[in-house]
């Protein structure tokens, strides 16, 4: 039983990790807690729904499911398109709301604005797609039985595989590419980066694209393995913040590890507390980490 909880914890943790990467970066580079970040997961998931219908309409090769999975090429293409659309949404919000406020007002004003943005984004989903749960596919899947009587769905294996690929790709991007290195520089010291010739605005654009694409992928994977609901992202606010704070703002590995810790503790908690209180677990993690290590596991202590 405990092995099953661990497997489920890693899988739900992977989704939280993907969402938390962007949140952690915006917290560090834009210096505000973006309460609307979780809504980008919702928009990614529902955006993919639209593109899925489009690509599936070609039929044949696009519509066929791949191997044991419940989805085909259409959903993979839809996920890419949804990442693009979600990035555009994030950049529009940045351009018209967050960037303006960061020039005229303090970063707390940006947090209030993110409350308002979250309200608008979440309820637009209800207006457009309704509030009933939706699924990408009705295809039946057979669980794979792993040693130790652990059952996982093929889609969940794909989820974990894709998360690992994304994290490796981001690792290479952050350590090898000029943009990635510049991004770390801006996170460390924006003024120093600016005088060293780094185009900070371009870096910020990249932060939003990476964050929004990660969120969109997390949303699609959530939709694939659970279901699509308008509160999909909203219900993940606390897990995402817990993962970002746990890992330390601005740290890629911190966000990934934080996501896994959140997923594992949520799923293992049901062994000691009633399931109905599971949503409070990320909050307890936040309290604990802020109490003992206010800058997260990987965060650098500010002097």
């Amino acid at each position: 039983m405990i092995l099953q909880h661990i497997a489920d914890g890693i899988l739900s943790g992977a989704i939280v990790s993907l969402g938390a990467i962007g949140l952690s970066f915006t917290m560090k580079l834009l210096r505000f807690a973006n309460f609307s970040h979780s809504e980008l997961l919702t928009w990614g998931a529902y955006g993919a729904l639209v593109f899925l219908a489009f690509f599936a309409s070609f039929g044949g090769f696009f519509d066929r499911t791949i191997g044991p999975f419940s989805f085909g090429v259409a959903l993979l293409l839809a996920m890419i398109c949804a990442s693009v659309v979600t990035s555009i949404i994030a950049l529009v919000l940045h351009r018209f709301v967050f960037e303006r406020l960061s020039r005229t007002a303090g970063h707390m004003t940006m947090v209030f604005a993110s409350f308002g943005v979250a309200l608008v984004l979440r309820h637009l989903v209800v207006l457009i797609w309704g509030s009933d749960p939706i699924y990408y596919s009705n295809a039946l899947q057979f669980a794979i039985l792993l040693p130790g009587n652990v059952r996982v769905m093929p889609d969940q294996v794909f989820l974990l595989g894709l998360t690992i690929i994304v994290v490796i790709a981001l690792h290479l991007f952050m350590t090898r590419s000029r943009t990635g290195i510049a991004m770390r520089g801006v996170a460390e010291n924006p003024d120093l980066a600016r005088v060293s010739g780094v185009n900070v605005d371009r870096i910020i654009t990249w932060v939003w694209i990476i964050g929004a694409s990660g969120a969109a992928m997390g949303g699609v994977l959530y939709g694939m393995t659970v279901q699509l609901r308008p509160e999909l992202g909203f219900s993940l606010i606390l897990p995402l913040f817990a993962a970002a704070i746990l890992g330390g703002a601005g740290s890629l590995y911190g966000a990934v590890l934080g996501g896994l810790i959140v997923g594992l503790s949520e799923n293992l908690s049901v062994m000691i507390i009633p399931t109905t209180y599971k949503p409070a677990v990320p909050f307890l993690l936040i309290l604990a980490i802020l109490y003992f290590r206010p800058d997260g596991i990987f965060g650098e202590r500010s002097r």
Partner: protein, 315 residues
């Protein structure tokens, strides 16, 4: 005509009850700079305490002490205050956005407790039959509501007067000093931690008072009345009206609740009935939009902070 008047009375009662919570938040954010994103949780504690203290006794559920209305109000404030002490001691070390995340989590947790601790809260069904004191004194819904409006007005008036006195006192100036520059304040021998806790607890007590007034008016309490969207509504009221101004807090409550109910009314008239369920979403979009636009266009709110100099310093 009578319909309009009774609706206006109903509207004023609710917006003033919200106004009380906004006043509490204003003390925390407007004057002290404490980012409490868990307003819904502290109003819920006040509301449930009121229901337990004044409600009828029932089997299988705790409480039902049938205490008088005023005792319920006082009890609600005490309960919210005690929880605020516990929460404050655990979280007030945190700065700004971490405090926001932590208090947001507290509200989620409180709502989970309301939903699941059936012995105390009645679970998903909530608690019903909470007495409204005006029912004993007046006949007919309009007279009863008018009387309750009077009660609410008295509570709002007292809260407002007390807060105005408080923020203009030396203690109130200390709040602003801590908000503006904590290090400078502590170098003058003030104790920021203690004062922040005091302001937090007092603000949460006022939020609890608001929750108590609410359940007494509508006669029941349910966990669905204290969702995170309530926190967002109350924040919008404060931002729109103008933070660090108690008049602004009340004005914001009237305006935002006015927009909410008017838009709800309009939507119910023009939107076909099969998608009525989505009407609420339209209201929420509108509120979010108002919040963002206010921040962009008029960040001070409609009436922002007024500068005030101590009357001792002026002479």
């Amino acid at each position: 005509m009578i319909g309009l008047v009774s609706y206006l009375v109903f509207f004023l009662i609710l917006s003033l009850i919200f106004g009380v919570a906004v006043l509490g938040l204003n003390l925390q954010w407007g004057f002290t700079g404490l980012f409490n994103a868990g307003v819904a949780g502290f109003t819920a504690i006040g509301a449930y305490t009121m229901a337990i203290l004044t409600g009828p006794s029932r089997d299988a559920v705790f409480g039902g002490f049938e205490l008088p209305f005023v005792a319920g109000l006082v009890g609600a404030m005490i309960a919210s205050g005690i929880s605020a002490v516990i929460v404050g001691l655990a979280t007030l070390k945190l700065r700004h956005e971490y405090l926001a995340v932590a208090t947001f989590g507290i509200a989620v947790t409180i709502q989970l407790v309301c939903l699941n601790w059936e012995y105390l809260t009645g679970g998903t069904l909530g608690l019903i039959g909470i007495p409204n004191p005006s029912k004993a004194w007046a006949e007919g819904p309009l007279a009863q509501n008018a009387l309750y409006l009077l009660v609410v007005l008295v509570v709002v008036g007292l809260t407002f007067a007390a807060l105005e006195r408080i923020v203009k006192s030396p203690w109130g100036r200390m709040l602003k000093a801590i908000r503006e520059d904590e290090i400078a304040a502590s170098s003058l021998g003030k104790s920021p931690e203690r004062v922040r806790l005091e302001a937090f607890v007092l603000g949460c007590m006022i939020m609890g008072l608001s929750g108590a007034l609410y359940v007494s008016f509508i006669g029941y309490v349910s966990p669905w009345d204290f969702l995170p969207i309530l926190t967002f509504q109350i924040w919008t009221m404060l931002i729109v009206g103008g933070s660090a101004n108690n008049r602004g807090a009340l004005l914001g409550a009237l305006i935002v609740w006015g927009v909410w109910t008017t838009s709800g009314f309009v939507i119910s008239r023009i939107v076909p009935s099969e998608i009525q369920a989505q009407g609420g979403a339209m209201q929420a979009v509108l509120i979010g939009f108002i919040l963002v636009v206010t921040l962009l266009v008029r960040p001070r709110g409609l009436i922002g902070e007024e500068l005030y100099v101590s009357r001792h310093a002026r002479s």
